[in-house]
Subunit: 432 residues, 2 copies
């Protein structure tokens, strides 16, 4: 590799800018060129629902760096409104389109970080001006503008997953009458049944209707938000022979190298190895994209860095609840030939004499023979996120119920429970 | 061992009742006899400062079970107001004193769980009616009664450790003008210097004076609370040849067996192995006492159970702060021939666009060569306890900075930070 490689990075948001910054950090001689189809490169996509909800008042607050400031701060070139349309890996050329036409950009190393787009049940639905997706930053702007100008009184959210729940809460902030429609029987289909029922309760307590309907079609005059998942932006790579997985995401090794020489990929365009099952999964989360970006940037610039996979660990705020999912569900476990038991436990976060104490629900998923912990759902008004993180670390280490039952934990009754709920859940499971 | 051993347990509070309950659970044929010098056996000693402070209004709420109800619920005999005064391990007899005189109690197995008492700089100080210790449950009652009847306007707390801080906050609740006096330069002497300064700030912000004074003596007419540590209640065992450690606590193996046959010990009368240094330490905490009690009870009743030691993990609430200490301090590490570096990091608990986000301080203590994590101080308005628990688990597994830097964590900006502060602290330390 040359000492000052020309590294082209395709895509802003979480992975691309992390790759750019890290490539420059590891190799200040590298020439780094960040290319983005839209206008914005470095922003908080995860905060966008809160802009829709009005918790964040100002759209500009979502933007971390303008292209100009990003470029000046990190010493990268930035080209916005340049859409990648073809890759020629043999000649090491990227073909992009801008307002003026097509340009060929040669590269030494290229990092594909062009993310995902909304997966739509039927593209024809988007022809209605009342139907919105929620993926790009500008989607948030469109939705909020629509609410401010058209003043809808009701809305339908299609999809009961993470984004569906975030958009439900965001629109509820504006006092809309909201119905969530899903193909599944209950919201949050990745959770265990008992956890899903708690989510349903929380929705209903907050006046949200939930309907299971396989044959939904948007009503002509009603605001509808499609939160029906994402798919990786790989269409433009057809013909490049880049290797993809069963979810359509690009497959990489731990250094974020694809099967094509000098081509790296990171973020929501890729699949990632789930360390619980050792299988590739599609999990387009900003934190993971950021980590992958760092690794891709480091390797493309001549360093060595690895990212071997993840224990999935995600959270969504649903009104008063932190809803955390970590590892695999019992269903995923069984689909991967792991047998799974679920211990369902309800406890409290603090000493019982203290009114600050909150209920916490834990569904602990484990392998019945080995007692290895496979996953968990944790739901509560407080303390679910950090307990999820703790379990993710335990799962990464292959720990068992008895490891969890023996954990050390800090106790003072105003702040924590005399018997840590995770310990109680593990002990109860061990008795079976 | 006989199938229905007579197990005598000496001492209520955290360890003894846990031993009694667990002995009966593991062997319903066992005859279990719980003996306590005072009146109460099962109560929340850790909540007592909150009774003093008035957060808990009613003294009776501190009591979990009366002796009668405990006895009826768990099938144990209970004798209160029976003070153990001598042990004859050769004849397997315990000599106790009650109002009527001395009694000999024979046993098959005995569990010593008689806890600790306040360590007093000068016993003569206790002759003043304005000077209080804070150890037994009745101490809390005396202090609160004193405040209600004598209506003091100021108080001195002697000792800047955990109990000193809890009592400071408790008395501040009543509007007293409070001075904390300590032999150390700063409060919370077990913490790293930078963390101690944060505690000092928090005290001062809340109008508390802190004075370092090696030659303190209580003023005649001022309310004074001695929070100068604890020592194990082993004096009555002089002559029994029971083996004790350098802090005066009884030494046990992982099954809670002492060097004397058929004699177990657990709770604040014992020392416990610190898994970071592999040395015995004295850490009289209720949670650890409870775990030890379970293990002692199980083994005394004929089962097999082990408790191999702890990663110290403790917390105190100091006004608005959760103050957590986990593992060893840099000083303790160095005293145990471990070299230690401290990475001091200040971050935030949530997304930066969210006003709910709170500052969090981390002092990460690690071995510079191996990068093994040895300990941490974590201070903040939220999320310190659970991060401490997570680190305790990491330390127990012998994890390094890079393990921590690679941890999986759940992100949504309203509830957590895009870069988890523990990860940031670890990454910063790795750069050195």
């Amino acid at each position: 590799m040359t000492k000052s490689p020309h590294i082209v990075i395709v895509g802003g948001s979480a992975a691309g800018p992390a790759a750019a910054v890290h490539a420059k950090k590891m190799n200040p001689h590298a020439r780094v060129n960040l290319i983005e189809a839209g206008e914005h490169i470095a922003y908080s996509a995860c905060s966008a629902p809160y802009y829709v909800g009005g918790v964040i008042s100002d759209f500009e607050k979502l933007i971390f760096y303008s292209p100009e400031i990003f470029s000046a701060t990190f010493g990268c070139e930035v080209k916005t409104r340049h859409r990648a349309i073809r890759l020629n890996p043999h000649r090491r050329k990227l073909i992009v389109q801008n307002d003026a036409g097509e340009i060929e950009i040669p590269y030494d190393e290229i990092i594909l970080a062009c993310g995902a787009r909304a997966a739509i049940p039927d593209p024809a639905w988007l022809s209605s001006k009342n139907v919105f997706t929620m993926k790009a930053l500008l989607d948030a702007k469109s939705i909020r503008t629509h609410m401010e100008t058209s003043r809808p009184t009701r809305a339908t959210i299609v999809g009961g997953g993470f984004v569906g729940m975030e958009m439900t809460e965001a629109l509820a902030h504006h006092g809309l009458d909201i119905t969530v429609v899903s193909r599944a029987e209950l919201p949050m289909p990745g959770l265990e049944n008992a956890a899903q029922k708690i989510v349903l309760d929380e929705l209903q307590k907050n006046g949200i209707k939930f309907i299971s309907n396989m044959n939904f079609k948007p009503a002509e005059n009603e605001m509808t938000i499609l939160a029906t998942g994402f798919k990786p932006n790989t269409d433009w790579l057809d013909g490049s022979k880049i290797r993809t997985g069963k979810f359509g995401g690009i497959l990489t090794d731990a250094r974020m190298r694809t099967n094509l020489e000098h081509v790296y990929a990171c973020g929501a365009i890729t699949e990632i190895k789930n360390l619980v099952t050792n299988k590739y999964v599609y999990l387009p989360l900003a934190t993971i994209a950021n980590q992958m970006g760092r690794v891709a940037g480091a390797n493309a610039s001549g360093s060595f860095m690895e990212f071997g996979g993840i224990v999935p660990c995600s959270v969504v705020k649903i009104f008063g609840l932190e809803v955390v999912s970590v590892g695999v569900s019992s269903r995923e476990a069984e689909n991967n030939a792991l047998s799974a038991e679920v211990e369902v436990f309800s406890g409290f976060t603090r000493g019982k004499l203290f009114s600050q104490s909150k209920a916490i629900f834990i569904a602990l998923i484990y392998e019945p023979k080995s007692h290895r912990i496979l996953g968990a759902n944790i739901l509560g008004e407080e303390g679910a996120v950090l307990r999820g993180n703790l379990l993710a670390a335990a799962i990464r280490r292959g720990e068992t119920l008895s490891d969890l039952a023996e954990m050390d934990f800090a106790y003072t009754p105003y702040l924590s429970a005399f018997k840590e709920p995770l310990v109680q859940a593990a002990r109860r499971a061990m008795k079976k």
